[in-house]
Symmetry: C2
Subunit: 139 residues, 2 copies
């Protein structure tokens, strides 16, 4: 497929060539835990920064990974369970998940948009990119 | 100074003892580039996640650091200069700054709140914590 010069300057699905000042709306979404949990990501060398959209009531089952994970709720609410603590977190609610700690998330009745940051990068995230759509946040 | 049991459970200025599900409003701010650029932070082992408040017109002069930095605008706007590109970024605008790349930021007329993520952690951030205040975002 040939690309116009404009298209070739925004290969957002290729982190190696991607430009470094990009709007979230120009990043392609992908499904992480079924289509109820979709994300867009920035990939660095040490860090993956994801903006994740959770549908109302979406469940991220208990899981763990070697990557450290820090995050914050942007809109809506999530019920977070981590190390025996369970808290409902709204906008500005944060989490800090150390390597290999099990955690579980359930989105509230209005769903949620959150940021999640991982280090090392999520090299295991090989989900196929989907059609570009308007992110729910910032709308 | 003695602490009540309640106080001793929220030592947010001590990352070693801090709980892992915390509201942004419970994190103490500190000034990064004078009082016009204040931040609150979560500290991991590999990542520092900061929510930064920039006053209207605040200037972060060109600088560089070994830490990789990814970030996103939450509210307001910033004019970002990085590697010869300059862009005005509103909510959902993102940046990816590789190690040692010079960058400069000027906040828009309404100021801005942004997230900034660094790896390795910002061990050079030894700014004194200030009185807890209500974060401008989410308000």
């Amino acid at each position: 497929m040939s690309m116009s010069p404009t298209e070739s300057r925004s290969p957002v699905s290729d982190p190696v060539e991607a430009v470094d000042l990009v709007d979230l709306a120009d990043l392609q979404p992908f499904s992480v835990w079924g289509t109820d949990v979709r994300a867009r990501k920035l990939e660095g060398e040490l860090v993956t920064l994801a903006v994740v959209e959770l549908a109302p009531g979406a469940v991220v089952p208990e899981h763990r990974h070697r990557n450290e994970q820090l995050g914050m709720c942007l809109r809506g609410s999530v019920t977070f369970t981590l190390d025996g603590q369970t808290r409902v977190l709204g906008p500005g609610g944060t989490w800090r998940i150390r390597s290999e700690r099990p955690h579980r998330v359930v989105a509230g009745p209005d769903g949620a948009e959150v940021i999640d940051v991982f280090s090392p990068t999520r090299d295991d995230w090989d989900f196929p990119f989907e059609e570009r759509t308007t992110p729910r946040w910032p709308g």
